[in-house]
């Protein structure tokens, strides 16, 4: 992986959360490029049109207007073009059923939005490193499940 930066996409309708998210990445030592989308439809249009490389990581809020994160997840998983995309659910909910359902549908990471900025940074950094581990060590991505 000789890229200079990590390519990240986030779909979330909450401006404050986007702010926290981008600020957290700014404060991390990792070089990154974050693209944000206000709802599921905007995200899907971007992904469908994408010709070059897929984002290294896609963060999905579950509760979004127009198209929910769950719907996006199902659409992405049904499309072979996105089979290598690593998907992280980024949600307020921490219900066991939600967590398990998204994992079963093919999400790799489930993040409950933390209520503390430092924790958010820690969580995001952990996601990026784990993802990198999987990438650099050719681990089986089918088995990539992480809950934070």
């Amino acid at each position: 992986m000789n890229k200079e930066y990590i390519n990240i996409a986030l779909a979330d309708d909450d401006e404050d959360d986007i702010l926290f998210f981008t600020e957290a990445f700014e404060e991390l030592r990792i070089k990154n490029k974050v693209s944000t989308f206000k709802d599921g439809i905007e995200l899907m249009i971007y992904l469908e049109k994408l010709e070059g490389e897929l984002p290294d990581l896609l963060f999905l809020d579950l509760n979004m207007p127009k198209k929910s994160g769950m719907e996006c997840l199902e659409e992405i998983k049904a499309n072979r073009k996105f089979k290598d995309l690593i998907i992280a659910i980024y949600s307020t909910s921490s219900s066991e059923e939600d967590v398990e359902n998204t994992f079963v549908l093919g999400a790799n990471i489930y993040i409950k939005k933390p209520n503390n900025f430092e924790k958010l940074k820690k969580v995001l950094s952990e996601v990026v490193t784990t993802n990198w581990q999987y990438h650099t060590n050719s681990l089986n991505k089918e088995n990539f499940l992480l809950r934070l």
Binding site: D14, S95, E97
Partner: protein, 592 residues
Amino acid sequence: MSLTPSKLLKIIFGIGLFVILCIGGFTYRHLNSLSKTNEVIKETYTLRSELDNIISNLKDAEVGHRGFLLTHDSLFLKPYQESKQKIENNLARLDTLILANQSQQLNLDQLEIDISKRFVIFNKSLDIADDKIILSEDILLLLHEGKIKMDRIREDIAKMLDYENKLLLESQEKNEQAIGVTPLFLYGILILTLILLLMAYAKINDDLKILKDNNEDLQVFKKLTEQAEIINNSATWIWDIVNNKFEFSDNLYRLVGEEPQSFEPTLENFFSYVHEDDREGFGQQVNLMIKKEDLPFATYRAVHKDGTVRSLRAYGKLMDTTIGEKFLLGVTTDISDDVKNFETIEERNLELVRNNKELSDFNYVASHDLQEPLRKIQTFISRLETKESENLTEKGKFYIEKIKSSSARMRMLIEDLLQYSRTSNSDSEFKKTNMNMLLEDAKQELSDSIEEKNAEIISDSLPTMEVVSFQIQQLFINLISNSLKYSRSGIAPKIEITHQEVLSKNVKVLEKSLFKYHHKFTFSDNGIGFEQAYGETIFELFNRLHGKTEYSGTGIGLAICKKIVENHHGVILAEGKPNLGASFIIFFPFLK
């Protein structure tokens, strides 16, 4: 009605008939033997007269013979010849009379020989008398000899008569003997027959009385039924399927708003009272009733002439009689009130379900949506703390600290409320789950605080049960964290989890349970415990036994436990002893 009386009567009449037949038989036999005796007497009489005739004819022959001897006049020879002929006839008749009797036959043979010998002597003396010598020596001798022969004949006849007398006597004696017992016997049998007939009569009388009593009871019962029908708003009907004839009880007419027996009881007439929309369905039900010979219920609406609509329910059962008739016996009830009540209850239930759903939706949405702004408040505080901390005065930092702890508490409350409203969701899936695994997962979840408190958790091997696994895991987590939280300071928490299967009837709180068996789980700890008086309130929502500052808690955890246990149709109890520990006992029903 019992069959024995009629059977008894049959037996009595049978015996009577048999006895009368016997009497007839006996009488016939006796008359028969009487007429036989008569015949014997008649025969004896004829025999006797024949024998007498022989003697008299012999005498005539003797007289003729003597006259000739004296007179030599052939005039005397004529009676002699005639009597000789007569005697021969007599003998011939005798022979036929005694044909059956051998000893008499012998006697008769002897008589015949003696008679012929007598006639030999007659002839000899007549031959000699031709010589015209009266009373010659030879004749005298012959006369003597003739006398002897005559005596012999008399003796023979006497012998025969004696014998005949003897026979007559014997037959008479026999007859008398037989006839002697017969009248007594016949009389006895007649008396017996009379008694039997009397008994039968008494029996018939008795039965008639019972029949009358039963009839009266039936009348009373009919009246009662009529009354009951009116009070219960029900009616009965009989449908003779073979002849397609109906019988409607009075109240059936009233149920369709008519006077009793005011129209001819036919299916067509009754159909005109059935609500238009229900006619087709009711017709099908009726057909089914005949086919299946038994039908749960046919429900339909009846419309009275004044427009009143009532809901009726009919039930029919087929009865086969032995003579090939088929009756459908039916009961029809007015269920209008039930239908109305049911509708009201249904409506209320729906309302209740709606209200409950609204409430739990509200709870879920409220707690879920409240999380968002709270999380932001907390995150912004954390930003303030790290980025702007040097710009804040000590007081400002203190206030921030206060905001932090308040929002942390609010977070805890919201999370617990959310958890509580999630457990209210009843659409979760029940699956066979190994409880050991759920306990292991719960311990995993709490591993940090278990380690921190240096707690020891001992558990029995737990069963596999059909549960909502998320909920049971939550239950275990809540109970264990409760024990960890309310541990005594300075004493390492020790939590014991035991399991056993119990018979419901042996446990007081389960006595009314429909399940025979329950799993009993006990979570006991060595913590601060509680006064047993709080054993029930401890499970109430927002109920806390301790101050907020003393032990952090929301008062929701145990309410969640109770809810989860109730979702699984179980019972949860709390037992506590201050400063010794608490036990939570859970019962889950199961089938063996």
